[in-house]
């Protein structure tokens, strides 16, 4: 019985590690370009690490870029109320 439980725990840990590795690898595909976009916008590239947050990470990144004032300037004039 203990052997079966041990196997189940081992398999669960393996599955969790596999999910984590896949998540990090996929996040890296987003972090690299986002890092450059943040730097070009004048922010710290470290903000792109929000992509590591499961599910809502990309939305956090997009919100910072979409609603923050880019320190290096923006391509469109600021409008009142925007």
């Amino acid at each position: 019985m203990m052997t079966v439980i041990g196997w189940l725990i081992g398999l669960s840990m393996f599955a969790l590690m596999a999910i984590l590795v896949v998540h990090v690898l996929f996040a890296l595909l987003l972090i690299v370009p986002s890092w450059r976009i943040f730097e070009r916008a004048g922010y710290s590239g470290l903000l792109s690490l929000f992509h590591l947050v499961p599910a809502i990470g990309p939305f956090i990144v997009m919100a910072i870029l979409a609603f923050g004032d880019w320190p290096t300037g923006e391509g469109r004039p600021k409008q009142a109320g925007s």
């Binding site: 916008a41 870029l65 979409a66 004032d69 320190p71 300037g73 923006e74 391509g75």
Partner: protein, 209 residues
């Protein structure tokens, strides 16, 4: 109910209204991001809406990489006012012009550093422009790289709050930004995100101090 919401959502491959809200929100934010980079807003929104296609998010991922490394129209607009014609060797450089400041700035007050070829050049945005030259001529805005392959002057560095630009002045040694040749006809280019500059045979790493 004549209008079946579930059927419409199913038509687009969406599993819930939450996914639809997330998609609209992402499209809106990407619209704003594209506009800030000087691109048409619809291009950003369209990149997100491509996830509705059979290819899924692969195209959006590719477009993200393209967007990150492409030349943004915002950079061209900001630097257009600082353009100068190439200068023949031996003539005095024309009066430097400043980069127009960004509209709303949380300025990063750190300076910049060019290091390589045994020298380290430090500068900041206290001056609107610096001249990169191989031989000092006594000017207060000179950054001297004592190398025979570096022109006299070679290139001009333009600064604004948090941003720098580089303009080649027609030196035979050539100017390169991250390995890409910068010609005098290109005018000033934004190098804020550049890693290395090559002037003649001298390779310089660009970093913040």
């Amino acid at each position: 109910m004549g209008f079946d919401v579930a059927a419409v959502l199913g038509l687009f491959g969406l599993t819930s209204a939450f996914a639809l809200v997330a998609l609209v929100l992402a499209g809106w934010m990407c619209w704003r991001i594209a506009e800030k980079a000087g691109l048409p807003g619809w291009a950003g929104a369209a990149a997100i809406l491509l996830t509705l296609t059979g290819i899924g998010s692969l195209i959006s991922l590719i477009l993200l990489w393209v967007f990150a490394f492409m030349r943004w129209p915002r950079d061209s607009v900001a630097l257009a006012g600082a353009a100068h014609a190439p200068m023949p060797s031996g003539m005095a450089p024309p009066a430097p012009t400043a980069l127009p400041p960004p509209p709303r700035v949380l300025a990063d007050r750190r300076g910049w550093m060019l290091s390589g070829g045994g020298v380290t050049l430090r500068f900041d945005d206290s001056r609107a422009a610096y001249t990169l030259t191989g031989v000092a001529a006594g000017g207060p805005d000179e950054l001297v790289l004592a190398d025979p392959s570096v022109g006299q002057p070679h290139a001009r560095l333009l600064t604004a709050a948090g941003r720098i630009g580089l303009q080649d002045l027609g030196s035979p040694g050539g100017t390169y930004i991250d390995g890409a040749r910068l010609l005098p006809a290109h005018g000033p280019r934004d190098i804020t995100a550049a890693r290395t500059l090559t002037l003649g045979n001298v390779e310089l790493a660009l970093s913040r101090t």
